[in-house]
Amino acid sequence: VSIEAGCNGVEATIVLLAAVLAFPAPWKNKLIGLAAGVVAVQGLNVVRVISLFYLGQWNYKVFEWAHLYVWQALIMLDVLIVWLLWLRWLPAPEAPAPVAAAAT
């Protein structure tokens, strides 16, 4: 089995990394999101590789469909879901100190 660029989940991981880093959140939360996200993306990518291996043995046309189109979309959907779950998990920002109190 040869896992080429585009099937190793690296691009999806980079997109998730960019999305997490770009959003204003504490670094601790970003690092937790990145760690969980990399595990989620690469974990699903292993499922992709295993499923493609068996699909390839069963039916080449189905393998081509899953390989070129369906799994690509599913991996990016995984990135989107992980990002949304991370956003939902983020704590609300602390309220800024009142202006009057800060002036005194």
Partner: protein
């Protein structure tokens, strides 16, 4: 009395997208011959701009685009033939199914489906363009790249363009298009903390 915890709306959304992907992929594959022609038509001026005079005609089969080029190659027996590279446009257009599934799962208005499909076309044309350019400029041996004028920075950029067009744009463009069209949905899915952080970030921008 402890009430059951409501389903996380993100998971519910994911299930709806998953369910919509089946008819969306079927619809995309059904319209692929026409949709690919549209993407190929937009790709033609891009190719002409990048490598002027390279393509002299474009032929469309059911789910493939064949480019008639001005590049001559040895065809055996001392004969020369025109190079006719073929591109599978479906590799670059399946994002249509993804954007439709995302929008339908968000209960988006019908006009957003059309806008979402149209917004993706330039990115799909980009993929088709750089598939052809990288085939001729990078993957083929001999003097093919020199004949086509894909040398120097054009050859280097062809590699970058192909990476973007094949690995990034097909999956990222549909998600960005959905996010731009359904900002309120993202806000609802991500929750109150997201809204506060986004607002405080916008407020702190100079």
């Amino acid at each position: 009395l402890k009430l059951p915890t409501p389903v996380n709306p993100v998971w519910a959304f994911a299930l709806r997208v998953f369910a919509w992907m089946v008819p969306a992929f079927a619809a995309w594959y059904y319209v692929a011959p026409w949709h690919s022609r549209l993407a190929g038509t937009i790709a033609r001026p891009m190719i002409d701009f990048y490598a002027p005079g390279l393509v002299t005609a474009v032929e469309y089969s059911e789910r493939a685009i064949v480019f008639v080029t001005s590049v001559k190659v040895h065809a055996g027996g001392g004969n020369l033939a025109l190079l006719l590279p073929e591109v599978n446009p479906l590799i670059y257009t399946y994002g249509l199914a993804l954007v439709l599934a995302l929008l339908l799962a968000s209960h988006a208005r019908w006009w957003k489906l059309i806008v979402g499909a149209l917004v993706l076309l330039p990115f799909q044309a980009w993929g088709i363009t750089f598939d052809l350019v990288s085939q001729i400029g990078i993957r083929m041996t001999g003097d093919v790249a020199v004949q086509a004028g894909i040398v120097g920075w054009r050859r280097e950029f062809a590699a970058l363009g192909f990476q973007l067009g094949s690995l990034i744009f097909p999956v990222l463009a549909p998600v960005i298009a959905w996010a731009a069209l359904e900002r309120a949905r993202i806000s609802a899915l991500a929750g109150g903390a997201f809204r506060k952080r986004a607002e405080s970030s916008e407020g702190s921008t100079p």
